[in-house]
């Protein structure tokens, strides 16, 4: 093989170019900690990386949904506790009033307390969470119950759903009529209160005994819904902890796909650096020597 000076030159440049390209690549990886900088770096990995990033962003939103749901349900849980307490107090009072030894004007006094309890119940029905009425379905901007005729107020049957994972949504709200009884029905809790007040004012002792059963029925209905609220709270809490686990595993996956293996990168860079130094010094030594140096 005939070797000419230009060949040595070309060869040296070619080698230096290759070495420098490798160094630049690893330098960039090390400096950013990222393995993939553009789609061409890893056409398959980029798909996964983008998916993990999207999932992570999205999961945060699901977490926020779950937390909103839990906030809703915790408030509803407290309200169920309160309404249960109201009914318990009403039951005690009615039981007292149903006792034949109670004088008539005492019943009237009890009637006044029952009226207070009814008002309390209406206030519970009109409770809000973050400025939205809880028991009026989707009409969250309108109070469901009026002070005058709560037993006739129809509540909106719409249900608010929140997404907790792709294509999985959980209903959050329970409309007032499911908890407090249908509008206009005899077992509507406000109707029951009205009846009790009437019976007390009219001194109808026998009817009061029947009212006790109606209070029990109303309280059963509230307890059932309370249990449902508890079940939904559990569901959201489970979702919340699952999402938190998911975030950790997504971050791990993202790191495995997109992050640089530091020890490997450092070793690669060192190797490339050694080769570069070797090629530079070899080039410098060989290209300096020619026959001219040895001719007198």
């Amino acid at each position: 093989m005939r070797v000419t000076n230009m060949m040595q030159n070309t060869q040296l440049l070619q080698n230096l170019r290759n070495n420098n390209r490798g160094i630049l690549e690893w330098q960039n990886k090390l400096a950013t900690g990222q393995r993939i900088h553009r789609p061409g770096d890893d056409p398959v990995g980029i798909g996964y990386l983008m998916r993990y990033n999207s999932e992570l962003n999205r999961t945060n939103e699901f977490l926020e949904n779950a937390r909103t749901g839990i906030g809703y349900l915790k408030t509803m849980d407290e309200l169920m506790q309160q309404s249960s307490d109201v009914l318990k107090r009403a039951r005690v009072l009615v039981q007292q009033a149903a006792n034949g030894t109670i004088p008539e004007d005492s019943r009237k006094q009890i009637a006044m307390e029952i009226a207070q309890l009814k008002e309390q119940m209406v206030m519970i029905g009109n409770s809000t969470f973050a400025g939205r009425y809880l028991f009026n379905g989707q009409k969250t901007d309108q109070p469901p119950y009026s002070m005058t005729d709560p037993h006739l107020n129809q509540t909106d049957p719409g249900v608010i759903y929140l997404n907790v994972s792709p294509n999985v949504s959980v209903p959050v709200t329970i409309t007032g009529e499911l908890i407090f009884g249908e509008a206009g029905a005899a077992d509507n809790v406000f109707q029951v209160f009205d009846d009790i007040i009437n019976h007390l004012n009219n001194n109808e002792q026998a009817e009061l005994l029947d009212d006790l059963a109606k209070i029990d029925a109303a309280s059963d209905r509230i307890n059932n819904n309370w249990a449902e609220i508890g079940a939904r709270t559990n569901r959201f809490e489970l979702v919340e902890s699952r999402i938190e686990d998911q975030i950790i595993s997504l971050k791990t996956l993202r790191s495995e796909t997109g992050d640089v293996d530091m020890p490997e990168a450092l070793i690669e860079l060192m190797q490339k650096e050694n080769v570069l130094q070797a090629s530079l010094s070899v080039g410098a030594r060989i290209m300096q020597v020619s026959l001219v140096d040895f001719l007198r």
Partner: protein, 524 residues
């Protein structure tokens, strides 16, 4: 019988010939670093012996030589290697352009990053979740609108970026065509010059080197097919036309340049196709998102804004059951869960009601040019919605208050269905895309992956083509390149020959001196 002065003549020839050889060595050394130079050689040959076969032969035995002469000075070059180099050089230039184009597209899409299209789309989908959490909340509506405007702005700016790339490519084609025409004109001029100079024993070595260098440069721009004609001129075909023939160069225009199959021009032409492909894919994605046919489920029922057909049996508020496929009259209240086929994001948004006065049939996205096909260049957020967040039709129900329709503010049935578009598996037109079915996110990821593969391929091809071009150049250098060591040893060789010839002449001179001045003086 030889002449008395024969020796002097032989030595003189040697001195002159070795001088030419030494001068050529000097020429070679001077051009050791000249691009495109091929080393030259003086072809030494013995001069004709003194006795030619003829009528009267001398009786002297032996053929007496008459020294050295050179019959030509030639360059050492292998045209096959030129062919190889130019082929690889065309491919290298083409792939370099492709790599640049893909890099520009990758930079434009800016993936992976926290502000590329993927991040913007994520934000858009997420803002729908925020809206669905509380559709009546003003800040949620503003957030969603902001995310949607950001999405259309990003798509529009990608479109602008692609348009810029295309116009850069067009400018490059024009500029490259000018270069091609300049090169072919100079090659044709050299053709004429070389033809005039060359004749018997005349080789226009340096001009030929220049012409080959120009053809090398031409091969970087366009595909070249060189034919060497018997008169020593080059006939060159490029992009399917004869651009150089003898002393004539035919100028090409941009139209012909678009037919190039190699060199930068071919890279630009192919880049056009790739940019258009990117645009088509993104247009398909946008059009499918906004108008692609999809099934939606409204779990809370719906109040029909017009005569509609559901995919399932539905119950109306008055207890009537309307079976699947039959028309549900306008303004019916559906109380059961209902499924409809709608045309994409816009189709679903058109079902919804604005607050407070329950307007309906509002498209969320519109095209800037009024076309029915949504593209990355014409998609905009409906200005009516952009100027008034109440026009976001998140609600699926309204009620009558004093004879007026009033949307139910807290109703987020439509926004709930909109959040589910993210997971809906759309069908894409197969003749335009590589992905047949998938979610919008899937489509974009597949698209970016495909772009990555093409870009990666281009980068690999540049590396390969560069290595092959270097290898071809290396082989050329092996044959034609100047080796200083070789030239120096030649120099010593010719120097010695020159010195020896001079000494020889001195000897002949002394011989003559002996004859003239010291012979025939007996008894003087």
């Amino acid at each position: 019988m030889t002449s008395t002065f024969h020796g002097i003549e032989t030595a003189k020839r040697a001195l002159l010939t070795q001088q030419v050889a030494l001068q050529t060595v000097g020429h070679n050394i001077s051009n050791a670093a000249t691009e495109g130079y091929s080393r030259q050689r003086v072809n030494l040959t013995t001069a004709s012996p003194i006795e030619a076969p003829a009528f009267r032969n001398s009786t002297m035995p032996g053929q007496l030589g008459t020294g050295v002469e050179y019959d030509s000075i030639t360059r050492i070059r292998d045209s096959f290697l030129d062919l190889q180099f130019r082929r690889e050089n065309q491919s290298l230039a083409r792939w370099e352009v492709m790599e640049q184009t893909f890099t520009a597209i990758e930079d434009l899409l800016n993936e992976p990053s926290d502000n590329g299209l993927r991040a913007v789309m994520d934000k858009f989908w997420n803002s729908l979740e925020v809206l669905n959490r509380d559709p009546s909340l003003l800040s949620a509506r503003i957030d969603f609108l902001g995310a949607a405007v950001n999405l259309t702005d990003t798509l529009n700016s990608i479109d602008k970026g692609l348009t810029d790339i295309v116009s850069d490519l067009e400018n490059n084609i024009t500029a490259t065509t000018v270069q091609v025409n300049e090169l072919t004109r100079r090659i044709a001029d050299l053709n004429a010059l070389i033809k005039r100079i060359e004749g018997p024993n005349q080789n226009a070595n340096d001009l030929r080197d220049q012409r080959d260098l120009l053809v090398d440069k031409l091969s970087e721009l366009i595909d070249v097919n060189v034919t060497m004609m018997p008169d020593g001129s080059y006939t060159i075909m490029a992009a399917g036309v004869t651009v150089v023939e003898g002393a004539n160069a035919t100028q090409i225009d941009d139209g012909i340049a678009m037919q190039a199959t190699g060199g930068k021009l071919a890279g630009y032409v192919q880049s056009f196709a790739e940019v258009e492909n990117v645009r088509t894919q993104l247009n398909v994605m946008v059009n499918t998102l906004v108008t692609g046919e999809m099934k939606v489920t409204l779990p809370n029922g719906y109040m029909t804004s017009r005569d509609m057909v559901a995919l399932n049996d539905v119950t109306l508020s008055d207890g009537t059951v309307i079976p699947a496929g039959q028309t549900i009259p306008a303004n019916s209240t559906i109380v059961s869960s209902v499924e409809f086929m709608v045309d994409g994001f816009n189709g679903l948004h058109r079902l919804g009601y604005t607050i407070p006065d329950a307007q309906t049939d509002i498209p969320f996205f519109v095209t800037e040019d009024g076309s029915t096909d949504f593209t990355i260049s014409n998609i905009r957020v409906n200005p009516d919605v952009k100027n008034n967040t109440n026009m976001i039709a998140a609600a699926g129900k309204y009620e009558m208050q004093g004879g007026n329709r009033v949307a139910i503010r807290g109703n987020g049935d439509i926004s709930f269905a909109l959040t589910n578009i993210r997971d809906y598996v759309f069908t894409y037109p197969l003749d335009q895309t590589t992905l047949g079915t998938g979610t919008i996110d899937d489509f974009f990821r597949a698209f970016v992956g495909q772009l990555g593969t093409l870009s990666n391929n281009a980068t690999q091809n540049v590396i390969n083509a560069k290595d092959l071009t270097d290898a071809a150049d290396m082989m050329r250098q092996q044959v034609s390149g100047v080796s200083l060591d070789e030239e120096l040893s030649d120099m010593i060789r010719f120097q010695h020959a020159y010195n020896a010839a001079a000494r020889n002449m001195t000897t002949v001179d002394e011989m003559l001196d002996r004859i003239i001045n010291q012979m025939g003086i007996v008894g003087r």
